[in-house]
């Protein structure tokens, strides 16, 4: 983050390799989408794919399988994109390389609210889950940031992670405690929790879209200011940035995106962490470019994880969240190993 | 007043395969105060730690009375040789008397409780360091200078003939620096304890040391009584600093007066 070019310097219009990276990501995206459409409990050949996608008149079984998978794939894409952007936002706001919804316990906060909704208010539709999840995510985020940023050194990765871990522990105990006496809640909640992207429908996409748009628009507006924020609060203030306002908006957008994604897809961790770090490694720390590419990258990771989960879990399916934790956690470890001790 | 020979033979040591000390041969004068000085990163602290067996040498050896310290039983060695690290850790909430009592570890067997000798040693150490009044206080409540006295008291309770100290005056106000060095001198005079320490301040070193070791780039470049070896040329060589050496009006030891680019 510190290697950011100072604003006075003449800047290149685009970061190095930007075009090449975008092209590569788009190709990967295309491949992952095709894989998601083709693979599953039943593998579809190229012909069936083409029929399903471009020939609405063809009524073969293969074509209809592909059509069913479209909603799921689209949902996976926007969900991954939302999580990628959310990760980039949270990392910038906290100036902390490992801020990720799952590490901060935000997912569990969303879970607790959803389970309370199911248990005490008999809520059962996704359009209602989403609000509960977002509120739960927000409150948890505020709580964890609050504890993690106490003290002189501010929100160091270690403090945030520990605050997140402690909060997750309490919340998940509560989730279990609410579930155990209520078998029906347990059933419904389990369905939500392993919902992954497998159960996604066009309805989920529809519910998600407004949240996605609001989150992305805010993200676009605050991106330049986040670049300044990366240089520290004093410098940012000196550059004329209203740090408090930027923080609140960026954090709001970040939580909105991941809360909505969690509400609809269940807890999926580490995508924001993974996507943001991969992209930053390639194109550098400029948030304006980082954010859209992290969105692309997040979408690819989620869709591919979903496809791989279909294989590993067969005959059933493996939750996306399990896979992303498995590839994401080593990144957390790598970052920790590389980090200088003072910054931890 | 027991005397010991303590010497290093062709000592080579360092961290992470990086050699910091290269072929160092020192012989610590028994029952005297020796001070090791040198620029930052020259290896003086590494030398002290290697002599106190905190770092295992790559080659060469450290001999106490002719025996390699790495071949001695840790507890036996700890009865003769003590070290006060630069930043020891204070367990939360521990009282002064308790911490000082931990210095008795090498003298106690694991199963037995405290003996009269243990209590005596702790009481004596507290008295000597003037911290009796704090005996039941938690260390967290004490000031930096008081804390350092507690740590030295712990090393005293260990009742070793040789005591190493790694920069015992760092982070202390000048008042406390002088106080600590005075107390160490008391210790040396009363019990004949051989004291070896690393110090930053050249002038205090020249005043309090019976014997000085000067280290540069992991090698010993000069040793001897301060008044014999501290010269402008040596300081220039060791610290790359121009200076004048005058006589300390208080102690008649060498006093260096640095020469910068301004105010000449």
């Amino acid at each position: 983050m510190k290697s950011l070019p100072s604003t006075g310097e003449k800047q290149r219009l685009l970061p190095k390799h930007f075009v090449a990276v975008v092209a590569l990501l788009l190709i990967l995206l295309l491949i992952s989408v095709l894989m998601s459409l083709a693979f599953g409990s039943r593998t579809i050949g190229l012909g069936g794919l083409m029929d399903g996608l471009f020939h609405p008149s063809v009524e073969s079984h293969e074509a209809s399988v592909v059509r069913q998978r479209i909603a799921r794939t689209v949902f996976g894409l926007i969900c991954g994109a939302a999580l990628g952007v959310s990760g980039a936002l949270m990392q910038s706001v906290t100036r902390n390389p490992i801020a990720d919804p799952s590490i901060l316990g935000v997912n569990t906060g969303a879970s607790l609210f959803v389970v309370c909704g199911i248990a005490f208010f008999s809520i059962s539709s996704p359009s209602e889950y989403i609000w509960l999840a977002i509120i739960g995510a927000m409150l948890t985020a505020i709580f964890v940031f609050g504890i993690g940023s106490m003290g002189a050194s501010g929100a160091t990765p270690l403090k945030l992670v520990l605050a997140g871990a402690a909060t997750t522990a309490i919340l998940s105990s509560l989730v279990t405690a609410i579930q155990i006496p209520r078998m029906n809640v347990m059933d419904q909640f389990r369905f939500w929790q392993v919902g992954s992207v497998g159960s996604a429908s066009w309805e989920s996409v529809q519910i998600f879209i407004p949240f996605l748009v609001v989150g992305l628009v805010i993200a676009l507006f605050v991106a330049p200011a986040l670049n300044a924020l990366a240089l520290g609060d004093e410098v940012a203030t000196g550059l004329g940035v209203r740090t408090g306002v930027v923080r609140i908006f960026a954090a709001f957008a970040g939580v909105l995106l991941c809360g909505a994604a969690t509400a609809l897809a269940g807890p999926i961790g580490f995508i924001g962490l993974l996507a943001t770090h991969v992209i930053r490694l390639v194109i550098g720390p400029d948030v304006r470019f980082l954010m859209p590419l992290a969105a692309l990258c997040g979408a690819i990771i989620l869709v591919i994880s979903d496809v791989v989960g279909r294989f590993l879990g067969s005959p059933g399916e493996l939750e996306v969240g399990i896979l992303t934790a498995f590839i994401g956690a080593p990144i957390l470890i790598l970052i920790t190993m590389k980090a200088k001790m003072k910054s931890i | 007043m027991p005397t010991h020979t303590f010497e290093t033979k062709h000592l080579q040591a360092g961290y992470d395969r990086k050699i910091i000390l290269d072929d160092v041969n020192v012989r610590i004068p028994s029952n005297k105060i020796s001070i090791i000085i040198g620029a930052n990163g020259c290896g003086k602290s590494t030398l002290l730690k290697t002599m106190a067996r905190l770092i295992k040498p790559e080659s060469g050896d450290v001999l106490l009375d002719g025996k390699s310290i790495h071949k001695m039983a840790p507890k036996q060695l700890a009865k003769i040789l003590g070290l006060l690290p630069q930043s020891p850790i204070v367990p939360e909430g521990i009282t002064v008397a308790d911490l000082v009592g931990r210095g008795r570890f090498p003298h106690q067997s694991v199963m037995k409780g405290w003996s009269k000798k243990d209590y005596e040693a702790v009481a004596e150490a507290l008295e000597m360091m003037n911290i009796t009044e704090f005996a039941d206080r938690a260390i967290d409540e004490l000031s930096g200078g008081q804390r350092q006295r507690v740590w030295i008291a712990m090393a005293l309770a260990q009742q070793t003939d040789i005591l190493f100290l790694d920069e015992p005056t760092t982070y202390l106000d000048i008042t406390y620096q002088v106080e600590i060095l005075d107390l160490l001198t008391d210790l040396n005079q009363k019990y004949g304890t051989t004291i070896v320490m690393v110090l930053h301040d050249i002038n205090l070193s020249a005043r309090y040391a019976d014997y000085l070791f000067t280290v540069k780039n992991g090698k010993l470049i000069a040793e001897g009584a301060p008044k014999d070896i501290v010269t402008a040329a040596l300081i220039k060589e060791t610290f790359a600093l121009d200076c004048q050496v005058i006589q300390d009006p208080v102690s008649n030891t060498p006093l260096i007066v640095p020469i910068g680019r301004h105010h000449i």
Binding site: L158, G328, A329, T336 | A135
Partner: protein, 343 residues
């Protein structure tokens, strides 16, 4: 003058010794009371007389089955697992000089859980092999976390972060196993997610009992060395402690008992984390608190289990209760540490 000082020191030390003994005895009494309650309470309440008769081999209609088959195994598992978590957690916290560095937070119990669940669901092994696997899983997890966090300079912070990362992976692995497992194996395996004394069997507890009986004297023997380690690597070395050897022995003992406890009851949340600090509070510092910490571990487990069984309409596993009690304390501790500004 010297004599006065000496007498003052002796007095202070004796009074603290008395406090240590008093607290330890008190804790032991509470432990016994809880164990009795565990034996007496249930669907039917049996008087002490019946419990004693059953324990001495007499057959009391009704009581014999409930006590021998259900309550005794449950109580024994709680006793030994509680002690193992409490004492083992205390060893870790003291050795690493950080209350946060305990088997729960850095994921050693998760390592044991993952190995145990793997054996149950994939390999369908006997309970002995499950115990062994849990121990190996715990030790390997420690080795990996420690190895990765060593790097150029060791730091507790890095160790904790890496531990949390490893824990996330292991949890994902456990979830995966649960998903592909047969439904019939799930109840057994579920125990590894939140600890529980339900369905405890004496036979399964046996390895833990042996380990605790062997490890406890070793831990007590090294308690003084552990006190010296608290002063830091360098000070401990200069006091004559062979730090590497001491650390290895203590670490291995602690991991083995904790791993076996995990294999028996699952990772009962926060017991390993809470016991040490509570013992410190009650007994004070300056003495090694291994035994008090172990007793508090037992009290937490048995007490939590009794609350879980009888305080509410529904029965909750002990892990849920200790989780709800323990996590707020963790947060309180974090707030305090953060205010002070050093982790």
């Amino acid at each position: 003058m010297i004599n006065e000082t000496m007498n003052a020191i002796i007095k202070a030390r004796k009074s603290r010794q008395r406090r240590y003994i008093f607290v330890t005895v008190l804790l032991a009494v509470i432990t016994i009371a809880l164990a009795c309650a565990m034996m007496m309470l249930g669907n039917t309440i049996y008087p002490v007389r019946d419990v004693v008769r059953v324990l001495f081999g007499e057959t009391v209609p009704g009581a014999s089955f409930a006590i021998n088959e259900i309550r005794l195994p449950r109580t024994v598992a709680g006793l030994f697992a509680g002690f193992a978590f409490g004492a083992g957690g205390y060893i870790f916290q003291t050795m690493l000089r950080n209350p946060l560095a305990n088997p729960n937070v850095i994921g050693i119990t998760t390592g044991s859980s993952a190995a145990a669940v793997f054996c149950i669901i994939i390999l369908h092994t006997s309970s002995t092999v499950v115990s062994l696997a849990a121990v190996i899983g715990g030790l390997v997890t420690v080795a990996i976390i420690y190895g990765l966090s060593k790097g150029s300079s060791f730091s507790i912070g890095r160790l904790i972060l890496i531990g949390i990362g490893i824990q996330a992976m292991l949890n994902a692995f456990i979830s995966y196993l649960m998903l592909i497992g047969k439904t019939s194996d799930l109840p057994t395996a579920l125990r590894w997610l939140s600890g529980s004394l339900n369905g405890a069997e004496l036979e399964m507890t046996f390895p833990l009992i042996v380990a605790v009986i062997i490890a406890t004297p070793i831990l007590i023997y090294f308690a003084k060395h552990l006190e010296m380690l608290e002063l830091g690597e360098q000070a401990a070395t200069s006091l004559g402690v062979n730090t590497n050897q001491t650390r290895a022995i203590l670490m291995i003992c602690a991991v083995i008992v904790i791993a076996l406890a995990t294999a028996t009851t699952g990772p009962i949340a926060f017991v390993a984390f809470l016991a040490g600090p509570i013992a410190q509070r009650l007994v004070g510092v300056g003495f090694s608190n291994i035994v008090p910490a172990g007793l508090i571990g037992i009290i937490l487990v048995l007490g939590g289990d009794l609350i879980g069984q009888f305080a509410f309409e529904t029965r909750y596993p002990v892990g849920v209760i200790t989780g709800i009690i323990g996590a707020p304390y963790l947060i309180y501790l974090l707030i305090r540490i953060n205010r002070k500004g050093d982790i």
